[in-house]
């Protein structure tokens, strides 16, 4: 047991850090610090910088453009990325559909899609959830019927994140209605520009537009757009969801936010002195930092374990990451609300275009608090996570 980072790992951290310092566009960083939404251009610009450096799809196998880093290097990269902060790679392409394609797709599909994912030539979105299929995803109803050399797709997806920017969608569709729930599902990819695809925005309680409803009305998709085998889509979905276990803790994001809280709490006054001088507030902040430190260590245990024993067997500790990670993210947004107090109220009707300078430093705090309620809901709600621990770890 050796609990310290090696010299090489520390040098790697420096390399990553200085690359971010030199290459993340300052406006992009500032917007992230303030909790503002980025434009599509801002995101894509940064991802292409990252891809040019060779770090766009760092965890992919080397032959598809990956880096061959160790688990600990991936961990360091992610932590630095999140806490700088810089935009994280688009998960739907890089972490979700990419690995499914290079693991289960045919050669033609790999050649066609993977380079475009890496360079974000295609913006991908995820067609999993449906109005009637949330935590019980396998009950999904969207249908793909084979007609000649085409799939005809009908149905509706929801919570489709950033579908308004998307060029492509990977979609779970029912291809065998007679089969048992999980058995008749296929994994099909197609263009969002196809005839019959309609995207309708969902405005969330923070006033933002991140998610959408997507309707499919007799959408025609070439048969070769099926990934892997017909009716095996559920297996690929499980593979996809199990692939990104450690990133979900978002330790770097919370670290960055805690630094911001400390900074703001040194400026905002309460009772004639900065809030940070109030011992009750300081203790609350310390409590959150301690929880985060514990989570960081838990994450490192999972990372080190993956590095040593491969990704096959899930480490029991990994179930902790989603629950604690989301709780801590939510606590940090609560602390920010506490710091700004009555200035949480003003609502920027122009959205987050920065036009209202009076609200420069507070504008996104309440929205961010509202928005962060999602983190204990998405990616398998925290209640589902507890079911998983009870069954898979405790054997209940």
């Amino acid at each position: 047991m050796d609990l310290a980072f090696t010299k090489e790992e520390q040098a790697f951290r420096e390399e990553v850090r200085s690359f971010f310092r030199d290459n993340v566009p300052p406006d992009t960083r500032r917007k992230l610090v303030e909790g503002r939404h980025l434009s599509k251009d801002e995101m894509v610009t940064w991802w292409r910088i990252l891809n040019k450096k060779g770090w766009g799809v760092s965890h992919w196998p080397k032959q598809y453009g990956g880096t061959g880093w160790t688990s600990v290097q991936h961990y360091i990269f992610n932590e630095e990325l999140q806490s700088y902060p810089a935009p994280q790679p688009l998960a739907f392409g890089v972490s979700m559909v990419g690995p499914v394609i290079y693991t289960f797709g045919n050669e033609e599909q790999k050649k066609k899609y993977l380079p475009r994912i890496a360079n974000v030539d295609d913006w991908w979105c995820q067609g999993f959830s449906e109005p009637g299929s949330g935590s019980d995803l396998a009950s999904l109803k969207t249908k793909a019927e084979r007609k000649g050399d085409k799939w005809i797709i009908n149905g509706q997806k929801t919570w489709t994140t950033l579908a308004q920017h998307a060029d492509m969608i990977f979609c779970l569709c029912r291809t065998d209605p007679s089969a048992k729930k999980q058995m008749g599902i296929s994994f099909i990819v197609f263009s969002m520009k196809s005839k019959g695809v309609t995207v309708r925005p969902i405005q969330t309680i923070d006033g933002g537009h991140e998610v959408n409803e997507v309707f499919f009305d007799d959408v025609e998709v070439p048969v070769e757009n099926l990934i892997g085998e017909e009716n095996k889509g559920w297996d690929y979905a499980k593979f996809l969801l199990g692939n990104e276990r450690t990133g979900i803790a978002r330790v770097g994001v919370s670290k960055e936010r805690l630094r911001r809280i400390r900074d703001l709490a040194g400026k905002v006054e309460s009772g004639g002195k900065p809030i940070i001088q109030d011992s009750a507030f300081r203790e609350k902040l310390a409590a959150c930092e301690i929880e985060l430190k514990a989570l960081e260590l838990t994450q490192l245990r999972v990372v080190a374990d993956e590095g040593k024993h491969g990704k096959g067997k899930p480490n029991p500790a990994s179930s902790v990451l989603k629950i604690k990670g989301s709780e801590i993210q939510q606590t940090t947004t609560e602390l920010l609300m506490e710091v700004i107090g009555p200035f949480a109220a003003p609502y920027d009707v122009h959205g987050d275009d920065g036009s209202n300078e009076a609200m420069e430093w507070t504008a996104q705090i309440a929205p961010s608090y509202f928005n962060n309620r999602k983190v204990s809901i998405y990616g398998g709600s925290n209640e589902i996570q507890r079911n998983i621990i009870a069954k898979a770890v405790l054997g209940l």
């Binding site: 047991m1 790992e9 011992s279 310390a286 490192l300 990372v303 500790a317 902790v320 507890r386």
Partner: protein, 380 residues
């Protein structure tokens, strides 16, 4: 970065787990509790035979040169088996003072007896009003010739009844809460002027309140600088806190395991109560709490070797906070999920809860350490 045990560490774990499986079930523990001073000389002898009492001492002093990870392994195992023997008082704390600041003569006089199991120690530190502040000391050590005269009262001294040697903190100059002027003294338990009142503690251990009335010791009784011992005391107590964190992890592991086994077998309404989702989620939350505690116990073990004393103390304080929160949740919910049977002395689970609870109140509770971390500027 590697969280796996080395081959030697794995063997160490197997050896102590094996020993305790053989000689430390719940029924045997009840018998040990009734022996003099509340623990078993036979078990202590076995720990000595396996070299566990010499683990952290340097090879030059007859020990095995073990580090923090080795102590963590032992303390977790002792926690898991709810061990009564004075490993913390003797090896971790007593041994800690000797290792860090003992003179060659002091080490020669005490370490061999610790390692072979013939001597145990006790740490007389707590005073009536000192609570968790290590620098709050009124017990006085006054110079007399080359030696010292000690006067004062110490409370809840673990292993105070059996220990041959007491390690006493006492003020050599200054006022009650001054950070300088504190010394650490080796005092034979049978010295003239030492009186003890022994009693069992809530968790089944034994402690004593000890009065020192004109107790005379020689110049060689002082460990380190008798006028500036606080840094040494903080260092050793930090090691004790780290050891307690590991012991608590062992206790939580066993509490969770016992509780999960119980709800799998206990039937109500015709089914195992573990099939109810509300109980499953509670058990899952206990697992989360225990894993977070394990992570921080490892962090504390690592922090023991930090160069900066300030960073070390801050990290260990943070660990004690996490362990305190986790142990309260795991302990309380273990009783809750056991239901009525968990309230009885007869069931094992209550004894785990009681030991966990006493750990929370040892060497600084959650509130105390949370304030320390907050006042030190946080942890990020």
């Amino acid at each position: 970065m590697d969280f796996d045990l080395s081959e030697e560490q794995r063997l160490l774990k197997e050896s102590i787990d094996g020993l305790l499986t053989d000689s430390y079930d719940f029924e045997q523990r009840k018998k040990y509790m009734k022996e003099k001073g509340g623990w078993s000389q036979v078990v202590w002898g076995k720990l000595a035979e396996q070299g566990l009492l010499g683990l952290p001492f340097a090879e030059a002093d007859g020990g095995f040169g073990g580090g923090g990870v080795e102590t963590m392994i032992v303390m977790e195992a002792l926690g898991k088996a709810l061990v009564l023997e004075p490993y913390l008082a003797t090896v971790v704390i007593g041994g800690g003072f000797l290792r860090h600041a003992g003179s060659d003569a002091q080490k020669a006089a005490h370490v061999p007896g610790i390692i072979d199991g013939s001597k145990t120690l006790a740490f007389a530190q707590l005073e009536k009003n000192s609570r968790y502040d290590l620098f709050d000391v009124t017990t006085a050590a006054k110079k007399k010739g080359n030696g010292w005269v000690i006067d004062g009262e110490k409370f809840v001294v673990l292993n105070g009844e059996n220990a041959e040697t007491l390690i006493v903190t006492a003020r050599t100059k200054g006022d009650r809460r001054d950070k300088t002027g504190i010394g650490v003294f080796l005092v034979p338990a049978n010295a003239k002027g030492v009186t003890k009142k022994s009693y069992p503690t809530q968790d089944g251990l034994h402690a004593a309140d000890i009065t020192f009335t004109g107790v005379e010791v020689g110049a060689d009784a002082a460990i380190g600088n008798p006028e500036d011992g606080l840094a040494l005391i903080e260092r050793v107590v930090d090691e004790a806190r780290v050891a307690l964190c590991a012991e608590a992890v062992g206790l939580m592991d066993e509490s969770l395991k016992t509780t999960v086994e119980y709800i799998k077998t206990r039937k109500q309404f015709g089914v195992a109560i573990g099939s109810f989702q509300s109980l499953q989620h509670r058990a899952s939350d206990m697992f989360v709490a225990a894993e977070q505690a394990r992570s921080m116990s490892m962090f504390a073990t690592m922090a023991n070797d930090f160069e900066s004393a300030k960073e070390r103390s801050n990290a260990i304080a943070a660990a004690k906070v996490q362990i305190g929160k986790s142990l309260k949740f795991v302990g309380q919910q273990s009783i809750q999920l056991h239901g009525g049977i968990g309230m009885t002395m007869e069931a094992k689970i209550g004894h785990y809860f009681k030991r966990l609870t006493m750990i929370e109140n040892s060497f600084g509770d959650t509130e105390y350490h949370q304030r320390r971390v907050a006042d030190a500027g946080g942890l990020i």
